[in-house]
């Protein structure tokens, strides 16, 4: 069935569109974007007073299937994505087994096809079993559909291996995504190092554990000419290094996550383990620097680093809790509140950083924009609606977010993925979990 979205405020960063237009969707593709389209055969979705934009793309998602289906599955993660306005998400390679071979990539694609909700793109490992010792079969991973490579939370500490991974990745045109952390400097740390860690007596992780590795990887990108993408930037020093790398013309891109521009290390004060995340929540100065970097384009994209953990895992002493917080369902609202409401970004700029920019980095040519012929992945959301984050209104199987109880502004209402209308008035209309 063809769809016609009428009377919405259409935002398309790629085509620099911000005006009231109609969008006609035919056979899963965008066929026309124009004023007052009349098409008898199409079902009409009225978007008057709402924002119509490319569906969001999350380039950093942890889906725990295979291996930790008690935390998140492809189905529950997809549902959380839909609720948050994402029609494309990734699977970071730290599944069990890790995504270090074709078989796991194919398994994820086949499971994703069964759920038929959102597009799911596996990210392959840099090294076998994420051990940082031997390169994974990167060519095979790419051929089977991996869109990037990363060892994420098990960063490659050996600079020679990282250099080889960058060199090798050039042949495939994929980015190498680096979680920058010097593991010796961060060893045993559970929060940002500074006044707050001193008061709480928790072992700190210095900002330099990130920026030292950002610096190393930028130099290796310069040496190799490869495409480097810096994951979840959390410090002002990292921002400065990336800004300089871009000035030099290196192919370096970067992302940050909503929690890094919303919360500082002061949030750890009550020992809420939902504030335990890597990299850790930093200082107010870092928040400021990250917002500036999103504004001037130093940081290209906003990702979620959605990292589900069960309540049993998180409901323990701070030292023993795993790192990570979920983010798919709160990312758009938090970003809207912290970046658009505060004047750092225009709405068009925000959409760019949450759809077009990550799609470009991952070479997803038909995603993140509303050009004629591109995939009909479209989000309709309302910037006037506020809602409260509660465990029972989250689709994610895990509820580990520090934003429980927060009232957020702006809410995804309708989502169309591949031309299919899969969320209506914030209700997912297929694949109810059993």
């Amino acid at each position: 069935m063809n769809l016609l979205i009428k009377n919405g405020r259409v935002l398309d960063p790629k085509n620099k569109i911000d005006e009231q237009l109609d969008i006609l969707i035919e056979k899963g593709k965008i066929s026309r974007v124009a004023k007052s389209i009349k098409e008898e055969s199409a079902r009409v979705i009225d978007a008057a007073g709402k924002i119509v934009c490319p569906a969001l793309v999350d380039m950093h998602t942890h889906i725990r299937q295979p291996g930790r289906e008690d935390e998140e599955t492809i189905l529950t993660g997809s549902r959380a994505a839909v609720k948050g306005g994402f029609a494309s998400i990734t699977v970071m390679p730290n599944t069990k087994p890790a995504i270090d071979n074709q078989g796991v990539v194919e398994f994820i694609y086949s499971e994703a096809r069964k759920t038929e909700l959102v597009n799911i793109y596996p990210i392959g490992a840099i090294t076998k079993r994420l051990e940082g010792k031997e390169l994974a079969e990167i060519g095979e991973l790419v051929k089977s559909g991996a869109v990037a490579i990363s060892d994420d939370g098990m960063p490659v500490m050996n600079s020679h291996i990282m250099r080889m991974a960058l060199e090798y990745s050039k042949m495939y045109g994929i980015p190498v995504i680096s979680h920058c952390e010097d593991l010796d400097l961060s060893s045993k740390g559970t929060m940002n190092e500074g006044y707050m860690s001193t008061v709480l007596g928790l072992k700190g992780i210095p900002a330099e554990s990130e920026s030292i590795m950002v610096s190393r990887d930028i130099q290796l990108a310069s040496l190799t000419g490869a495409r480097l993408h810096i994951a979840h930037v959390s410090t002002s020093e990292s921002v400065e290094l990336i800004r300089n790398a871009k000035k030099k013309g290196l192919s370096v891109t970067a992302e940050t996550c909503p929690h890094y521009f919303t919360l500082s290390d002061e949030a750890v004060l009550n020992f809420d383990t939902n504030t335990k995340v890597k990299p850790p929540l930093r200082t107010r100065d870092d928040i400021r620097a990250i917002k500036e970097a999103l504004k001037d384009g130093t940081i290209d994209a906003i990702s979620t680093d959605h990292a589900p953990h069960t309540e049993a895992e998180k409901d323990v002493e701070y030292d023993f809790a795993p790192f990570g917080i979920i983010g798919l369902e709160t990312a758009l609202s938090l970003s809207y509140m912290e970046l658009v409401k505060t004047g750092f970004l225009s709405l068009l700029g925000l959409i760019e950083r949450m759809s077009l920019a990550p799609a470009k980095i991952l070479n997803l040519q038909n995603k993140g924009h509303l050009s004629q012929g591109s995939d009909a992945d479209i989000l309709i959301f309302d910037t006037e609606i506020s809602w409260v984050v509660e465990k029972n209104n989250l689709e994610s199987k895990s509820k580990n977010t520090p934003f429980l109880g927060w009232t957020l502004i702006s809410k995804p209402l309708e989502l169309i993925a591949g031309g299919k209308h899969i969320m209506k008035e914030s209700r997912i209309i297929k694949n109810e979990p059993r």
């Binding site: 500074g194 006044y195 001193t198 007596g201 928790l202 009550n270 409901d315 002493e317 809790a321």
Partner: protein, 314 residues
């Protein structure tokens, strides 16, 4: 008149000056009990206290045990090997079990900062923090402050130097909160590798030079050096630490004539303190131990006597 309304004692950070003084004054009246031939009052008869220790400790545990017994409470000890606690479900489960046994007060020692706070949130029983990692050790600081006040008759304007591994010391943190609230001047002295970042924001003077910490100080509170810090390369050798930061009679020549030497125990003799100083005329280390029982009696008494919250009405 101040009243005690708190369910738990988790740290000195959140206490007001008046609350701290209230505990100290209550402890004054309990100190006398320990000098009687029959060292017992019936204040906590029928109450149950659990010593819940996830870290080995002889002194603090014994001190709480004596305090509870002198108040006629029933007390049991549960020691859990921290290394067996890889998963925290045990803490949660044990908490539920303790709750089910209708315990009134849980005294908890744990290696992880915030563990007693987590317990306090999940049980109706009162929780007393007997040391959580490097975070706080409120009863130790209270007994330190009690001892200083006893000897110096005041706290306002006194110069107190805390010397040693400040970075990993819950004793230092609790002392800083308490002493600052009561108007004392606090200096912290540590090798640069054991000085935590931002500590000066707590209103303390910092120095790496031991002589600066000793000169003009009314009190030297010497911290125990954990031997394992050496393996973390926090300082080159124990020998060098003892030479640079150990207190001996030679270094005490810079001290005021009426300086007090304190130590939370147990002492590494010959490392942070030489035996002649530990046992010498300035030392009030054994007074600390005696006062510890009185202070813990006061804390147990006040916590158990807080007005009942009507939990049944929801």
């Amino acid at each position: 008149m101040v009243e005690w309304n708190r369910k738990d004692l988790l740290g000195l950070e959140e206490l007001s000056k008046d609350e701290i003084l209230f505990i100290l004054n209550t402890a004054e009246s309990f100190r006398e009990v320990s000098t009687r031939p029959i060292k017992k009052v019936p204040a906590l008869r029928g109450k149950t206290v659990v010593n819940f220790f996830f870290e080995p400790s002889t002194r603090t545990r014994a001190s709480f045990e004596l305090a509870a017994k002198r108040l006629s409470a029933d007390i049991i000890n549960i020691s859990v090997n921290s290394s067996a606690m890889v998963k925290g479900e045990t803490l949660k489960d044990t908490a539920r079990n303790i709750e089910a046994m209708k315990v009134d007060i849980i005294v908890m020692r744990h290696s992880s900062p915030g563990a007693p706070h987590m317990l306090a949130r999940s049980v109706k029983s009162s929780v007393i923090n007997a040391g959580d990692g490097s975070h706080e050790h409120p009863t130790q600081a209270l007994l330190d402050i009690f001892t200083i006040r006893e000897k110096k008759k005041k706290l306002e304007g006194l110069n107190v130097s805390i010397i040693g591994d400040i970075a990993h010391s819950r004793v230092a943190r609790s002392n800083i909160w308490g002493l600052k609230k009561l108007g004392a001047n606090v200096t912290v002295c540590a090798p640069s590798t054991l000085m935590p970042p931002g500590i000066e924001k707590l209103g303390v003077r910092t120095t790496y030079k031991l002589k600066e910490a000793i000169e003009g100080a009314d009190v030297l509170n010497i911290l125990r050096m954990q031997i394992e810090r050496q393996s973390e390369n926090m300082f080159p050798t124990i020998r060098e630490y003892a030479i640079e930061y150990g207190i001996d009679s030679e270094k005490l020549k810079y001290a005021k004539k009426d300086v007090l030497i304190m130590h939370p125990g147990p002492i590494n003799r010959g490392i942070e303190l030489t035996p002649d100083v530990a046992d010498g005329p300035y030392s009030v280390i054994l007074d600390q131990v005696t006062n510890g029982v009185a202070v813990r009696m006061a804390v147990l008494y006040l916590i158990s006597g807080r007005p009942e919250s009507d939990e049944s009405t929801d």
